[in-house]
């Protein structure tokens, strides 16, 4: 008997309808991401369409290939594969070859979700698993940033690289704000980061649009406000302390918050209900952990960006956090150590 089978829905009392289902929650996130996606189209032109659709295709096709035929329609209809592909696509650089984005989508679903037993059982955020794989597999292509396009029809030739090949481009690259900070101590203007139009991944250029989407998700009760608030607060405080020690070496707090993938990761990936803690206290610990790790990796680590690994690391300790922050059941004594 399969509780996920729509024709055989077995449930126990109480039967309180909440009106919120997996497909509707996924739809909300996709709607919330729409402004940022459109901004990606605006800034990066056709490359955004190509990379994002390749990543979605990889995710959805993999999902189709591995899901049993009987449950295929239902699983595909819940939109989680589509969302994973879209989220992954938004974290990719615009000049990435389409075949790499496709593989990223396939890995995100295959290793990030299917192998754990499907939606709800995965330990890590699938889109981030896909991005981590791509970053470790194709480090050059994944860190080659190109500046925003002149117009929609400016083609990036690397998008069309034949599968399993990659033409390295030289000279046409632009450094991302984080790279400039890390290697040249050049800070980018915060207002520019806030409204977009910087070199970077497709969906992380404009913090404003990402925050608007986040507010929509909060109003729809799809995300826990504690996660983004705790991450952003931790980043502000921690980088503020460092900045007050030496403003020449360490990045300013606002720069830290609005640069790189922090907004995208904070609002849309760290809040994934499957891979974040369920208790309020646990959620605070989770968010503070991500915030600390992001700054640690960015400032003291070898890489300019740390959001990806911070979220994955905190995903890994989520079961532990959940276990230690279980609230006491009413009327029960806290179990003593034996």
């Amino acid at each position: 008997m399969n509780s996920k089978d729509p024709d055989l829905l077995l449930q126990t009392a109480p039967f309180l309808r909440q009106g919120m289902t997996t497909p509707s929650a996924m739809m909300d996130v996709i709607i919330a991401l729409a402004p940022a996606t459109l901004a990606a189209l605006w800034y990066f032109g056709n490359s955004a369409v190509l990379v994002i659709s390749a990543s979605i295709a990889g995710a959805v096709l993999t999902e189709m290939a591995f899901v049993p035929r009987q449950r295929r329609r239902m699983i595909l209809m819940d939109g989680s594969g589509l969302l994973t592909g879209l989220l992954l696509g938004l974290t990719l650089p615009p000049g990435l070859p389409m075949w790499m984005a496709f593989i990223g989508g396939a890995v995100a679903i295959g290793f990030g979700k299917i192998i754990w037993g499907g939606l709800g059982n995965n330990l890590f955020n699938p889109a981030l698993v896909g991005r981590a794989f791509l970053l470790a597999t194709f480090p050059i292509a994944m860190t080659t940033w190109t500046a925003a396009s002149e117009g929609f029809w400016t083609f990036r030739l690397t998008n069309f690289d034949f599968p399993f090949t990659y033409t390295e481009i030289d000279g046409l690259t632009a450094a991302s704000p984080l790279g400039l900070m890390k290697f040249d101590q050049e800070a980018t203007d915060v207002m520019q980061l806030f409204f977009g139009n910087t070199a970077g991944s497709l969906g992380e250029t404009s913090s404003l649009l990402l925050i608007l989407g986040g507010i929509y998700l909060y109003l729809r009760r799809d995300i826990d406000w504690r996660v983004p608030v705790s991450i952003v607060t931790t980043v502000l405080i921690f980088s503020g302390i460092l900045y007050s020690i030496d403003p020449l070496i360490y990045p300013a707090p606002l720069f830290s918050v609005f640069s790189g993938g922090l907004m995208l990761g904070t609002i849309y990936m760290a809040t994934d209900p499957v891979t974040s803690p369920t208790t309020p206290l646990g959620t605070w610990i989770f968010g503070i952990g991500i915030g600390l790790l992001v700054i640690l990796i960015r400032v003291f680590g070898g890489m300019p960006e740390g959001v990806l690994y911070s979220i994955l690391l905190m995903n890994a300790v989520t079961p532990l956090i959940d276990r230690f922050t279980q609230p006491r059941i009413f009327g029960h004594q806290r179990s003593k150590k034996t």
Binding site: F111, T137, F138, D161, F164, T165, Y166
Partner: protein, 216 residues
């Protein structure tokens, strides 16, 4: 013929597929994951392991009457460690470039539980002839597994096999495959395929048995 009777063949062949040390017993994971980033390294590690396993199995089965059972594990380790050290120096003298790649993992053959496992489970209880057959089979199975992993990782990771370029200069290497995570991914996928095949075979045999049962 190498195998003069079926018993020899039986002991030899079980290690290659049915009781494969890697795919079935999941032993010796440390060298399996660490040195299989190219086919050449895999073969060298397989060869060194073969030398150590065959040598120590032979010696252990020969000395089984003299080794008191209270100190048998220590004795096995002494024997294994001797062969490992010999392999280490020989490799360093003969093919230093490969030795440089394998580095610390040659001495670590001592800790390969597959080798100690064969001494305890088989060589210390059988004749030298069968012990050698068993050791040959097990190390060949180990070599097959190393080579399968090493070939896949080298092809994806560098676009070459045994150093021969396969796809031309445009090939974009999958860097992850020659890094440690690639070892875990590839091993997991190979185990997946292996178990899937075993399952299919078991299902097929079951169906054959069923058909035979109903026809009678």
């Amino acid at each position: 013929m190498l195998f003069s009777n079926t018993e020899d063949y039986e002991e030899f062949s079980k290690g290659i597929w049915r009781d494969n040390p890697v795919f079935v017993q999941v032993l010796g994971m440390c060298p399996m994951l660490a040195v299989t980033n190219s086919a050449v390294n895999a073969v060298a590690m397989g060869g060194a392991t073969l030398f150590v396993l065959v040598g120590s199995s032979f010696l252990v089965s020969l000395l089984k009457g003299w080794i008191p059972k209270q100190v048998r594990i220590s004795c096995f380790i002494i024997i294994i460690a001797t062969f490992v050290t010999i392999a280490d120096y020989t490799l360093l003298a003969l093919i230093p470039t490969v030795h440089k790649e394998l580095g610390a993992f040659i001495p670590l053959i001592v800790a390969n539980c597959m080798i100690l496992g064969r001494q305890e489970a088989f060589a210390s209880k059988s004749t030298p002839r069968l012990a050698v057959m068993d050791a040959l089979g097990m190390s060949s199975g180990f070599m097959v597994a190393l080579l399968a992993l090493g070939a896949v990782r080298e092809i994806f990771g560098t676009g070459t096999l045994f150093g021969i370029e396969l796809f031309g200069p445009a090939w974009e290497p999958w860097v992850i495959m020659i890094l440690p995570p690639g070892g875990f991914l590839t091993l997991g996928l190979i185990l997946l395929v292996f178990n899937w095949m075993s399952q299919r075979k078991a299902m097929f045999l079951e169906r054959v048995a069923e058909a035979e049962g109903s026809s009678q």
